[in-house]
Amino acid sequence: MAEQDRRRRMEETKKQWEEGSLKKVLNRFPERNKVFVTGSNTEVNRLYDPFDLIDFDYIDELNFPGEYPYTRGVQPTMYRGRLWTMRQYAGFGDAEESNKRYQYLLKNGQTGLSIAFDLPTQIGYDSDHSMSHGEVGKVGVAIDSLEDMETLFNNIPLDKVSTSMTINAPAAVLLAMYIAIAEKQGISSSELNGTIQNDILKEYIARGTYIFPPVPSMRLITDIFDYCSKELPKWNTISISGYHIREAGATAIQEIAFTLANGIAYVDAAAKKGLDIDTFAPRLSFFFNAHNDLFEEVAKFRAARRIWAKIMKERFDAKDPKSMMLRFHTQTAGCTLTAQQPDNNVVRVAIQALAAVLGGTQSLHTNSRDEALSLPSQKSVRIALRTQQIIAYESGVAETIDPMAGSYYLESMTKKIEQGAMDYINKIDQLGGSPKAIEKGFIQREIQNSAYQYQKDIEEKKRIVVGVNQFQSEEEPMKDLLKVNPEIEKRQTEKLNKMKKKRNEAKVQKELKLLRKTALSKQNIMPSILNCVKCYATLGEICDELRSVFGEYRESLKI
């Protein structure tokens, strides 16, 4: 009875407020806009109150941290136990320079490395390939053969660090090199800890560093799942990424919908291959974007955890709770950085990083303020790292678990995003799953429409970007931008040529031939690749061999 009385009182009071003071103010001072929307164009109400959460079931929808559906976080203590990993993506020039940088970072207490590879490496070209000109060592480190990897990890004990590698199409080759180095260091592969991105579907959708067509690409991925479940049990075999999908212009809802749909496709592919779900699913990890709209982003992370848990339990019948836990890395949104008044970007990054932490991320990369202008300078990278540290040690948000839970707005938004994402996932299921939806161009088109809308909104000033379409000011061009040494390409090519003269050429050719045979068969390809890298076959040679068997992917236009 008391419950009903309270409800009636609330209804009456709300009505009084609406017809009384609210109406009076609205009549005299109309609101700024007719409709208010989030950063992703989702409508936002004037007010959220208990009426928005009338059927809210705490246990079903949130539950306690570390409990299904993990909305409040995947661990029972979250940041009270251990802070998130501050993992700054870095790498440039050649292996020697990067190695120095990693050693410096490790000496200063960092335990996780995050390796950026240059574009030729990501697309499986050696540094002397004609397509590599001008790109060697630019956006990351150049790796041509095991020799470069040896230099890259020189004096770094692979059993003591966790290494995250942003590598996709040739992930199997780089992973094989990593295993080979561990072997040389006398470390068993079962002790290796780290992540490869290995998410090809989002390359077709948004990032563009693909090599092979979808079918052989999926085979490479499931071969890795299978191999690692036996040989590298602590390795995260994939980082299913929404980051780039969001950067390409997707909304928050689209980001998690398309990422989780890709996740479903990988699980399906592995299951089809006969792998037991609970052997590989606990090693799946995710990678999301943190955008500007604070509440929407926090809601997005929470919704993603809840959806994935339900999918794994209900759709795939996973038994191990670890299979249901969505663990993720976050990077702040590069696309929100402005070339105008770049110092303002520090503030944007702070808000985005806060969203990631309030959303319960496992690790975080914060962007540097000058990234809309060039590769980040050392000073800018430091500010970005300090931003995370201020959130961790000064803001107080890490002292309690999921502090925004229970907010009428946040919980309503979490629900809304979950529903929106599920609608997309169902649509993609109807199209035959995400690989089919990508082939039909559905996902790309949805993203491009959002990107175009966003741009139009800015141009029509429906959306304000400080310093870009409002509050502009005259400014001095930014100084101290980072320049990559143009000599690197030459140096790298010379090293490559020298290495090729030293190696046992007959053995290389023999192993490449065997690789070809394996590629044509149904056998797991990992052992053959491992044999190739061990005798110093180059990344380009291995990928060329695979290109000749698998063919190359060609994008299609979906505008």
């Binding site: 697309i123 397509m131 000109h133 630019k138 060039s374 505008i559």
Partner: protein
């Protein structure tokens, strides 16, 4: 019946796959009544120049975020000159530092648009610079 339409080649040289900007611009140009030839990712300077000539475009728009612009753009301008096609206007966009912009303008790139540019500015630039007989 004369029916002149401005033709623009939107191209992505270099290996980076970030085509959000290129596609948004392509669409905006189409909506402004232009014909846009879009050739996709990983285009070499040779491919771009040859395509521009075959398609007889008025403008080439280059989009690059990989940092290889100082290598690829001069090569492209040299090829255009060799093919006697410097009447084609070349513009570029992407992550290009200020000091490089100065250099690139010296070799004949007419305009460089940095992130945050209004697409209407690009449209105006093209309309001002392309002399189409009407």
């Amino acid at each position: 019946m004369k029916n002149s339409i401005i033709r623009v080649l939107v191209a992505k040289p270099g290996l980076d796959g970030h085509d959000r900007g290129a596609k948004v611009v392509a669409r905006a140009l189409r909506d402004a009544g232009m014909e846009v030839i879009y050739t996709g990712l990983r285009q070499t300077p040779e491919q771009i120049v040859e395509t521009a000539i075959q398609e007889d475009v008025n403008v080439i728009g280059l989009s690059i975020l990989s940092g290889a612009h100082m290598h690829l753009f001069p090569k492209l301008m040299k090829l255009l000159k060799e093919r006697e096609a410097i009447d084609i206007i070349v513009m570029a966009g992407g992550i290009i530092p200020g000091e490089d912009i100065v250099e690139l303008k010296k070799i004949g790139i007419k305009e460089i648009f940095t992130p945050g540019t209004d697409t209407n500015r690009i449209i105006e630039f093209i309309k001002e610079n392309v002399k189409v007989v009407r």
